[in-house]
Subunit: 335 residues, 2 copies
């Protein structure tokens, strides 16, 4: 018998198209380095044509988190939508090969426009400082409706986790609402990643009002400030913790700070040999943290597990772990 | 005005699906480590389903050679066939982004079966010893007909280069013949890579008879022995050089030996920090060697350029260069 799912992760199914480039190229496209910009098919083709040779690897924020959770040894299911095309096959293969349950069939009919909608891609430009600049064409992944949600799996899971990118779009609102309702019907905690400072700015009101039904919030410093509207990290932590019982704010090389009902704890970052590509850093932190939670660990341990997972992922190109994270956790005495 | 094409490379357009695995997995599939096996759609799906998470990167033997030639600074065109699907878009983007001329439109009609034929893929299993085991589904790439050949470009080029994988298949025979005829009509040298020892065994007679019209042959030791039917490297070199004016045999870590009209020269391998993945080693050697030839260099220099290119490519995952090979050649005094 399969173990019951501990964590359900919900997000956009994306394939990353990773290409090394320089700051001038990013600036010439009018993009802010380190940001994520949503693009349509035409923009996608134009930007892709200007990129150097690329490598494709499955991505998507919550999907990366799911892959890390499986690598840590958690039982995890991913809910997201792919089209009936080559990249849909690639995404489906990779998430299953990572040990994640993924049951969505390719979606090839009933979509809301007459044109065939493709599996989503993210064009990721990696600059020499290992920073990523993303242009994402969400494709079919946006159209997450209530009927796409496995409510039974959510109701019996310990945590349902959303990427913030899913919150604020009309196309996915009914899916998000159905998932939260399923969590509330069970005793399932709701976790949310703020995803991106620019996304927070664009959808601040919707994300803020969602926090009433969120139990665990992941954000970096810029996202925490933007979401709370506070000018300082301390102010932001207080404002967010008044609405969400566990708030984890990542601080890059400075590690992270967690505010939960037991108080506030700061945890330094894990040492990294060389930071190669920061794609997936936040996703993997959330995975480690939630793995700690479902294992019944205190906040400081959860944060340290998050840091361990992030340290592995930023050490190579691509957003999913290459090493077995469960072995790294065991080596650190936290298996 | 664009520079006229110096080298035309012809081969299968493939996207590599690269996955790390272990020797036991390769053996459990009944595959010989280090070999290339042709597979059909059903086998492809079955083997892919058993692979771990993978990364996709454009490949194809002659296409890799073309990408290396462009990186060295040569003017190069690739002729090969992609389907009108996501992987066809990926292949076309990457070869052009590498600086190679590639004019074939996606092929989506007139193919010889009723079923849609996809862009070719190669499932590449990389074992911890950096050896590659390949299972290739050639897809639409096999159906290279005379009308797909840019005879004008070939007739005015200095070299037309074939991967051996293209020679011996009924589907591509008319394309190969048209290309050789175009070379003979001009003053274009014909270069051939033996590709694979198992391929040589399967198609020995056809490859051997083709040598009458080949000016430059690339082979590793096993391929040279198989093709010539000789038991020793010296015997093989003599037998092959009796039919082909320039024979370059690669010897892995031992470097290579070249037999041409000026005599026989041995060149040691370039030092490599760590061999990560030998995919593309032979392809890049051929590129460096031919770059030396079109630059009018003697055989020893050609072989050294081949070794330089190969050293770059085996130092990382994937078959195409990450560094600018022209800068490496310049640093070695051979720009």
């Amino acid at each position: 018998m399969e173990p019951s799912t501990q964590i359900v992760a919900i997000g956009h199914a994306l394939v990353d198209v990773l290409s090394n480039t320089d700051d001038d190229h990013v600036a010439s496209l009018g993009l802010g380095k380190g940001t994520m910009t949503l693009i349509d098919d035409d923009q996608s083709q134009k930007i892709y044509a200007g990129l150097g040779p690329a490598v494709e690897a499955s991505g998507g924020s919550a999907a990366n988190t799911a892959a890390c959770l499986a690598s840590l040894g958690a039982s995890v299911q991913f809910i997201g939508k792919v089209a009936d095309d080559d990249l849909g096959v690639v995404f489906s293969h990779d998430i299953r090969a990572a040990g994640v349950r993924f049951e969505a069939p390719p979606f090839d009919s009933g979509h809301p426009t007459e044109r065939q909608i493709s599996t989503g891609i993210s064009l990721i430009m990696v600059t020499p400082d290992a920073e990523k600049t993303m242009c994402t064409n969400l494709g079919i992944g946006s159209y997450l409706a209530a009927e796409d949600i496995d409510t039974a799996a959510i109701a019996s899971a310990q945590i349902v986790y959303f990427e913030g990118y899913l919150c604020g779009k009309d196309e996915s609102r009914s899916g998000v609402e159905a998932a939260i309702a399923a969590a509330r019907a069970g005793a399932t905690l709701v976790a949310l990643s703020a995803s991106d400072p620019a996304w927070v700015d664009l959808h601040r009101d919707e994300l803020w009002s969602l926090l009433d039904r969120v139990d665990i919030l992941f954000a970096n410093e810029a996202e925490a400030l933007g979401l709370s509207g506070q000018p300082t990290l301390e102010g932001a932590l207080d404002a967010l913790a008044a609405r969400v019982s566990t708030v984890a704010v990542t601080l890059g090389a400075e590690g992270c700070v967690v505010h939960d009902r037991t108080g506030v704890v700061r945890v330094p970052a894990e040492p990294v040999g060389q930071v190669v590509d920061t794609t997936g850093a936040g996703d993997s932190f959330a995975a480690g943290f939630m793995f700690g939670m479902v294992s019944g660990r205190p906040a400081a341990d959860c944060a340290r597990l998050g840091g361990l997972a992030a340290a592995e992922v930023v050490g190579h190109l691509g957003a999913r772990p290459l090493a077995r994270l469960s072995e790294m956790a065991a080596a650190a005495g936290m298996a």
